[in-house]
């Protein structure tokens, strides 16, 4: 069964540095997402992406964040100047359509970002 893949599995960076988290969604999926989970807290929506543009974003997704689909397969999340509070597990997901019953989200294994 096809899977969403994320790299790296763990990223350590210093405060103020830029970081790029990478994802390869399932190939016939059209919607792409980033979620994050701070340790001990719930999974939070960051952004959804469709047709090469952002379709929804949360209040967490401020100007420090950006997403890109640079080619036909990758979907990236960039944090321009990382802060300590950005430390979290970041999950990429994809779906064929809007996240309804016939288009469930498929998640990657996540990238654990640690900002020191």
């Amino acid at each position: 069964e096809p899977e969403v893949t994320q790299t790296p599995s763990h990223q350590v960076t210093q405060m103020g540095q830029e970081v790029i988290l990478r994802c390869v969604p399932i190939s016939n999926h059209l919607y792409f997402y980033w979620y994050r989970q701070i340790l001990g807290q719930k999974v939070e929506f960051l952004v959804s992406f469709y047709n090469n543009e952002i379709s929804e974003k949360s209040e967490i997704f401020d100007d420090q964040f950006s997403v890109e689909r640079p080619d036909g397969s990758n979907f990236t999340l960039k944090i321009r100047s990382t802060k300590l509070e950005d430390s979290a597990m970041y999950f990429c997901a994809s779906s064929r359509g809007l996240p309804g019953g016939n288009s469930p989200l498929h998640f990657g294994n996540g990238t654990r970002l640690t900002v020191t």
Binding site: Y35, F45, S55, E56, P99, G101, P104, H106, F107, G108
Partner: protein, 108 residues
Amino acid sequence: AQRVTQPEKLLSVFKGAPVELKCNYSYSGSPELFWYVQYSRQRLQLLLRHISRESIKGFTADLNKGETSFHLKKPFAQEEDSAMYYCALAGANSKLTFGKGITLSVRP
């Protein structure tokens, strides 16, 4: 606004005991509800969705619009059911909102 509430953080039961994981939601339109599960060191994966009215791994969940609930139930828990369970809601947009999750621990 979309909101999902899972009031408990942990449920610990013995093998063979019934399980009910609670989920309540708030949404002004017609929501679609899901349960996702995360086994130890594995990714989040879909367990079941309300529109399918299916039973997966012995789990069922019924959408109760009057009580705005979507509780997950299993009559006889197994050790392999131990995992983190998340209730999630999809509205008319492209955002899936998760509850805080509950850890289910099934003891032998």
